[in-house]
Amino acid sequence: MRTVLLSLLCCLPGLVLAGEPDPLQSPQWATMHSRFLNGENYRFDDKVKVLAPASAEDSLNVPITFDATALEQVEKVVVMADLNPIPGVLEFSPKTIPARLSFRMKLQQGSPIRAAAKTADGLWHVGGVWVDAAGGGCTLPSTGTASGDWSSTLGKVSAHVWQRPDNNRLRVRVMHPMDTGLASGIPTFHIEDLAILDASGEVLASMTLHEPVSENPMLSLDVGQHQDFRVEGQDNNGNRIEAEVDE
């Protein structure tokens, strides 16, 4: 009976059970699954797109875009890099805007880069690509820390809003060294929480950033028809980030 049930389940179109072979054949996938998806049900799903160049030209700034807008009711997207010394990259929770984000990250060596989107039914949808890298992205000091001039610009925000027919585009840059703690003698120092709010204070999307996000994070979001924003957050030392972005 059990066999029949199993084979029945396997034949259901589109549904793949946990334990399905990893399309990126990473030795770390089982660990990623238990650590970042809490061992919950998932499937590898082409509806979650991850864009990145096949080879990282600059290991300190590998551009990553994920797009889970082909799914309904995305509650949270987790980005991870299996073979990075710090594999957790960021979490993105879209409240009222599309589940799509572009940013840059540090990569220590070639690795799968995955985005896992959790939908309202509790299932994780996992997409990803393999990015090759010459390495060294995580164990170098940030340029701000190396040059000593980070403190005068810490937490400063610059931004711009582009009017578009479907979704306006918001690009935000927050000045921060984003030190990983892996460079000798330089402690972990990074933005932890970052939220994009509309002018009235309603949260459009909230994010948790981890060490691999690049120095001076540059984020691109699709923001519906909103034109005015607040950017709020704090780093792991308690420094606040608060700014207003007007069209």
Binding site: L51, S55, I64, A134, G155, S158, A159, H160, R171, V231
Partner: protein, 311 residues
């Protein structure tokens, strides 16, 4: 017994392959006294061993002048052996067009020969040579065995000097890198452009200043050359490779500026369609992606404004 032979073959095969590492060097005569070893229009790989670059040599009455030493110690050694065997003359001078690894990592084979370079290129070799070398080992493997940095020992300058009956003009330019040395042989009309000119191979930009590069191309266009040896891609007898490089660079910088002005992120710019006129240009897609990484971060900042800090 049959099994024994099989075993022998299995043991023997990898050894013979590993021992070869012979670059397929074929001297192509492009003008009187002037030869080119033309590399493939590919990216570095374990198959090509980094032979993706054009090097050249001029056989003068006093000896041979070599332009660029190639991607590895093995390359430099094989290049020099071919030259001295086929010409029966010693190498008397090496010019290095710029500091990129595929152009100067063969220097070890020329440790006893004067090696000329622009000061900016020498600084680049000192600062980045080690990381270039490490990356070349990663990409091409054992072809690189024994390769280390041998720096140039002479400074090249603007001017014309007659060497063994050839009036060689060296021209200091920049744009592809901070120091791009061009060698123009007035006696034969051959122009060695280095990587200021690519032919049917997309230009690379890790150290590029596009405005300076376009100016350098204007300078090259004005020279009365008969043959142009680009840094990468086939040798030509006309100005088409200069025009193609200019056209590509103008398209590239316009694409990047437009993307930044329209709020695109890097991955979105990387997906820009390659125009039909560049369909025969090798590696256009992957070089566009690399160029976005090199050039876009500076351009996009110009389109952001400081937000009002409320903290």
């Amino acid at each position: 017994m049959k099994r024994f032979y099989l075993l022998l073959v299995l043991i023997w095969m990898p050894t013979t392959q590993a021992d070869s590492f012979q670059y397929p060097l074929q001297a192509q005569q492009v003008a009187p006294d002037t030869y080119v070893l033309e590399g493939k229009t590919e990216d570095f790989s374990r198959k090509n061993g980094g032979f993706i670059v054009n090097t050249g040599y001029i056989v003068t009455a006093d000896g041979v002048v070599v332009i660029d030493s190639g991607p590895s110690k093995r390359f430099g050694e094989q290049q020099r052996a071919l030259i001295e065997k086929s010409t029966g003359k010693p190498v008397i001078r090496l010019y290095l067009t710029h500091h990129h690894p595929d152009h100067f990592l063969g220097n070890q084979a020329y440790a006893d020969v004067p090696r000329y370079v622009l000061p900016a290129s020498k600084r680049g070799m000192q600062q980045e040579g080690e990381s270039f070398t490490a990356n070349m080992y990663r990409m091409t493997g054992d072809w690189m065995r024994g390769t280390g940095i041998t720096l140039p020992d002479k400074t090249a300058q603007d001017g014309t000097e007659t060497v063994g009956g050839h009036a060689l003009e060296t021209i200091a330019l920049s744009g592809h890198t901070a120091g791009d040395l061009v060698i123009f042989d007035h006696t034969t009309g051959v122009l060695f452009s280095g990587d200021l000119v690519f032919n049917n191979r997309a230009a690379t930009t890790p150290h590029a200043n596009i405005d300076a590069w376009l100016q350098a191309l204007e300078k090259l266009q004005s020279l009365p050359f008969k043959v142009i040896v680009p840094g990468h891609g086939p040798v030509a007898q006309d100005k088409a490779p200069i025009e193609q490089t200019r056209d590509y660079l103008q398209w590239l910088i316009t694409t990047l500026k437009d993307g930044a002005a329209n709020g695109l992120d890097m991955n979105e710019v990387m997906q820009t369609p390659i125009p039909e006129r560049f369909k025969d240009v090798a590696l256009a897609r992957s070089e566009l992606q690399r160029s976005v990484s090199h050039l876009y971060p500076a351009l996009e900042l110009g389109n952001l404004q400081p937000a009002k800090q409320t903290e």
